[in-house]
């Protein structure tokens, strides 16, 4: 707080867009160097999808019935598992403190991080889901709606999940707690995401459900970055 009243040295004033771009590049470079980490949620999705025919029944008609909800639940859990690591390494190596100290607004930096998380988990999950739908006898006609609903919905999931990840980053075993905090908040997205695919399959228009998914995303983009920033400040400063 006191640094605001007495400027020690004039910091280089970087524009917001510049900083966002720099952070985007940093996150992508980190992901590239970590190698195959981004594949893990996809493998998780594939494995969960394989479990269900084994557990329920291999009959195509029964599988096609539950396929939209099943793919959505599996994708949601894959997103959830990837969230625990969102701020953890940055917290461990001190990057988070630098983010908090940066003169640029923290919500903006948080939003950039979430966008990268969505690009590296949500987008691949959305693009892979129709292929796994084939295993569940999901009709090919549902693929565009499935991809679209997952693209919109997973962005909301990333934003909401980041709040939980920020709240639990200071705790030694945050993982299971994170799912307890976040899953109830995921329910509306799940309802409309899976609902969009189901209506499309039944021959109806998926537009209303997609519009609601878009509305939830708009609300999350407007509100979540501030909650994430607040939660990070609390987790780091106590």
């Amino acid at each position: 707080m006191s640094s605001r009243e007495m400027p020690v040295a004039t910091p280089t004033r970087l524009g917001w867009a510049h900083v966002c771009l720099a952070q985007l590049r940093r996150e992508l470079a980190l992901a590239r160097r970590r190698g195959g980490d981004w594949l893990n949620p996809l493998l998780f999705l594939a494995l969960v999808v394989v479990l269900f025919p084994l557990g329920i029944s291999p009959q195509p008609a029964r599988l096609a019935d539950v396929a939209p909800g099943l793919l959505w639940v599996a994708a949601l859990l894959a997103m959830l598992l990837s969230l625990d690591a969102l701020f953890r390494t940055d917290h461990a190596d001190g990057t988070l403190e630098q983010m908090l100290l940066a003169p640029q607004p923290l919500p903006l930096l948080c939003l950039t991080k979430v966008v990268v998380h969505w690009l590296l988990t949500g987008v691949p999950l959305a693009l892979c889901a129709p292929w796994l739908g084939v295993l569940l006898s999901l009709p090919a006609g549902a693929a565009p709606v499935l991809i679209g609903s997952l693209l919109l919905g997973s962005a909301t999931l990333s934003l909401i999940g980041a709040i939980g990840a920020a709240l639990t980053v200071g705790l030694p075993r945050g993982g299971i707690l994170l799912s307890l905090l976040i899953l109830p908040l995921y329910i509306p997205v799940l309802i409309f995401g899976a609902g969009a695919v189901q209506t499309a399959l039944a021959g109806g228009s998926a537009a209303p459900a997609m519009a609601l998914l878009g509305a939830m995303l708009a609300l999350a983009v407007a509100g979540a970055p501030f909650a994430i920033a607040g939660a990070l400040r609390i987790s780091v400063n106590g």
Partner: protein, 243 residues
């Protein structure tokens, strides 16, 4: 007026105020609950369709109303704590959470019991039941996050943020499940319309609701005093009280 509000922020003064307010609320709770219970169980007429089984409404509806009110109360206390850094507000939010969770559970449990004679099933994925169940998980999440930070108030701000995020989400969850599936009857009490029940049924219900509120306030004051004592146990005035 403002000095009163400012004084509320002082744990010592708040402790004394709770002690002064408590007996009144305990008496009100005892009287209202006794009158409401006897009236509703013995004197109000049986329902022409559901018979006597409808009487579970006298526990079910107050519990469900309290479950929602307590969350709003928790969120208000959390907002006060985050904005003005008043510790007593966080203590109040702490002691409210388990009671709210208990009321949510009671609402679900009595509803489940009531479902057997009326709907023929213990559970159905109706919108209100689902929303209440999700709310129970939100309560548990709030309690678990505080528990994860240990017994001191380190996690207080994190819990406050989570409570506020939860309260923003409750209406969204509510409407999303309403559009998803609906079987439950609409709300019993609304502010704008007369209840659909005869007065001999809804007056005892109203008494029970007020009784539950009084009990909630009395219990919160009682537990708030304990919480203040526990967290301020190093201060001189608490040690003087203990001696």
């Amino acid at each position: 007026m403002w000095t009163f509000v400012h004084k509320l922020g002082s744990p010592k003064w708040c402790h004394a105020l709770c002690a002064r307010l408590q007996p009144g609320f305990w008496i009100a709770a005892g009287l209202l609950l006794a009158v409401g219970a006897v009236w509703s169980l013995a004197f109000s007429p049986p329902d022409y369709q559901m018979g006597d089984s409808y009487r579970i409404i006298y526990v079910h509806v107050p519990a469900a109303i309290l479950a929602q009110s307590v969350f709003v109360g928790m969120a208000l206390a959390s907002a006060v704590f985050l904005i003005w850094k008043i510790k007593v507000a966080d203590m109040a939010a702490t002691v409210m959470a388990p009671f709210g969770a208990a009321m949510t559970f009671l609402g679900l449990f009595t509803g489940s019991l009531w479902g057997v004679p009326t709907w023929g099933t213990w559970w159905t994925w109706d919108a209100r039941l689902t929303a209440m169940l999700i709310q129970l998980f939100l309560y548990i999440g709030v309690i678990a996050l505080r528990g994860a930070y240990g017994r001191d108030d380190q996690g207080a701000k994190a819990v406050a943020v989570l409570t506020l995020v939860g309260v923003v989400n409750i209406p969204i969850i509510k409407y999303s499940v309403v559009w998803w599936n609906t079987l439950h009857q609409p709300a019993t009490f609304t502010l704008t319309e007369r209840p659909a029940m005869p007065a001999s049924m809804w007056v005892p219900l109203l008494i029970m609701v007020l009784g539950f509120y009084s009990f909630f306030i009395a219990l919160t004051l009682y537990r708030l005093r304990n919480e203040i004592m526990r967290r301020e146990s190093r201060t001189r005035w608490v040690q003087a009280l203990a001696d």
